[in-house]
């Protein structure tokens, strides 16, 4: 049943030595500390040590009013800030029974999906850089720059957006943004061919990623893995489809699934997901309703006492806000279920028996965002 070995359990002998991968290391993307036990280059045991960028968002939430937690939400996972923003607003709208104009919902979906594309671009390209190819990383950044420009045009920021408000969004989108988004989608579709030629079909890349770091369905169940990492293991689970929120049921999109469960499968799922996101954005732009973008909401909201669990899909997996309100203007408790937290812990199970290089590739393919784990 339980066969996780922490570092202290493994018998120390002369063959086995410890390697501190991080907290400052080129491929831990932030301040993640991976304590590896190695036999030669083979990992015997791995223990991720987290908490280096712990900021205490959950405690902060208990010391501020509901609105003031908004900027925090986009800082939990800084790569999909808009999605977290949207989720928090939707959770509270559900709790308070606030109506949101349809146009606002559409704008939220468009911006969230753009955010998902930018996050996946960064995730994939950083992963490819971990494998050793530096150039695709910068090509990805070139594309990501266009997404950030688009989002900056709407939200005013490039990373920590704080764009959603209770009852809608902060400001309307204009025609220029819609045209720019369509142009960007056309451009990205054209670039995909290059990405596939340069990365996906490259023999070295294939050799590095096939049958490496396999997460089985059973492991995923035991550890609560979600998101692209889960869909790479053959499970068709996406909160956007399984537990639809916002206006997602109105769009026609597929959930890409690969059944191999290896590093390559997770990469392919992310690539396919970007294409699906582009489909969603196009449909949303086509059917964008007119009307206000923000309903009338009191300046400071007073939710009724009660609790709510609201799940949504970020770029890394299923996120959940569990909110307990005692009827005052200050939250009683906000718990954020962050997908990277569960996804990272799987490493203790799948890394032993792999090479260091595979460990790096696996870590990159899970695409963790460390501040999301540390909160």
């Amino acid at each position: 049943m339980l066969n996780i070995k922490t570092i202290d359990d493994t018998t120390i002998n002369e063959r086995v030595y410890q390697l501190n991968l991080g907290p400052q290391h080129p491929s831990t993307h932030g301040v993640l500390h991976l304590l590896l036990k190695l036999d030669g280059e083979v990992v015997v045991a791995a223990e991720p040590i987290v908490g280096y960028s712990h900021r205490g968002h959950e405690k902060m939430a208990e010391n501020r009013i509901w609105e003031q937690f908004l900027p925090n939400t986009s800082r939990i996972d800084y790569l999909s800030g808009l999605i977290y923003n949207q989720g928090y607003c939707m959770a509270l709208e559900k709790l308070c029974g606030i109506e949101v104009p349809e146009r606002a919902e559409y704008i939220r979906v468009i911006t969230s999906e753009l955010n998902r594309i930018s996050s996946h671009l960064l995730g994939i390209m950083a992963f490819v850089m971990d494998i050793g190819a530096f150039t695709p990383f910068l090509y990805g950044f070139d594309d990501r720059e266009h997404v950030l420009d688009l989002l900056e045009r709407v939200t005013g920021s490039r990373l920590t957006y704080c764009y959603n408000r209770f009852g809608g969004v902060r400001n309307d989108i204009d025609q220029e943004f819609c045209d720019g988004t369509r142009r960007f989608i056309d451009r990205l579709r054209g670039r995909f061919k290059d990405y596939h030629n340069l990365i996906t079909e490259n023999i070295i890349f294939i050799k590095r990623t096939r049958e490496v770091g396999i997460i089985t369905e059973e492991t995923a169940l035991e550890f609560g893995v979600t998101g692209p990492s889960l869909r790479g293991s053959g499970v068709n689970y996406d909160v956007r489809k399984n537990e639809p929120y916002s206006v997602y049921p109105e769009f026609d999109f597929e959930i890409p699934v690969r059944k191999e469960g290896d590093v390559m499968a997770r990469y392919q799922v992310r690539m396919a997901e970007m294409e699906q996101s582009m489909n969603i954005i196009e449909q949303a732009l086509d059917n964008l309703p007119q009307g206000p973008v923000r309903s009338h909401v009191p300046r400071f909201i007073d939710p009724p006492a009660g609790d709510i669990y609201f799940a949504f899909e970020s770029a890394r997996g299923a996120v959940g806000y569990y909110i307990v309100s005692d009827g005052t203007r200050i939250p009683y408790r906000i718990k954020v279920r962050t997908p990277s937290f569960s996804n990272l812990f799987v490493l203790t199970r799948i890394l032993p028996g792999n090479f260091i290089a595979d460990a790096i590739a696996t870590l990159g393919s899970i695409d963790v965002v460390v501040p999301e784990i540390d909160r």
């Binding site: 959950e58 609560g224 889960l230 669990y309 799940a311 299923a318 569990y322």
Partner: protein
């Protein structure tokens, strides 16, 4: 609106939970308002039996959290499924402030970190936990930050007064 399959799943789940937990109170949650379909209220034991039932039904453990209520902690286990018919079950356990609940990490290894996090934030010691250490806070910390008593200074109380 719950679909047919969802109704069936909920019914089956309710039955098996009732069989496994005769002392628990199992109620249907209002999904549209609270986001969960089934709510299980337990006394301070029974979380491992719940976990076993949930695992047999191929549910995954979404997260565990605790809430610091005056006089007691409430441990909350969130189970969800990959099934097309979404079904979220939450199990609430009221425990006393100094109680030590059992771990579910033997059933869901992913709970090792989740329980470490709860220990880290609330100081709840899980029995039989294989590796109960601090996770996010420093190893030598002598505080449990999510307790309502933590960090309450005169200044924060003043700020609270201003805000409300």
């Amino acid at each position: 609106m719950p679909t047919e399959g969802q109704k069936k799943l909920l019914e089956e789940l309710k039955n098996s939970l009732t069989r496994a937990l005769p002392e628990g109170r199992i109620t249907s949650g209002d999904y549209a308002r609270t986001g969960y379909h089934l709510e299980v209220r337990l006394s301070d034991v029974g979380m491992r039996r719940t976990a076993m039932v949930m695992k047999d039904n191929r549910f995954y453990l979404e997260t565990i959290t605790a809430v610091d209520f005056p006089g007691s902690f409430e441990l909350i286990y969130f189970y969800s499924t990959w099934h097309d018919d979404i079904c979220r079950v939450i199990a609430r356990i009221q425990i006393l402030k100094d109680a030590s609940p059992y771990t579910v990490s033997a059933i869901y290894p992913g709970a090792i970190w989740l329980e470490r996090e709860i220990y880290d934030f609330f100081g709840i010691r899980f029995l039989d936990h294989p590796d109960l250490r601090r996770i996010l806070n420093p190893d030598n910390a002598d505080y449990f930050p999510l307790l309502k008593t933590f960090g309450k200074t005169k200044l924060t109380e003043e700020i609270d007064d201003i805000l409300c």
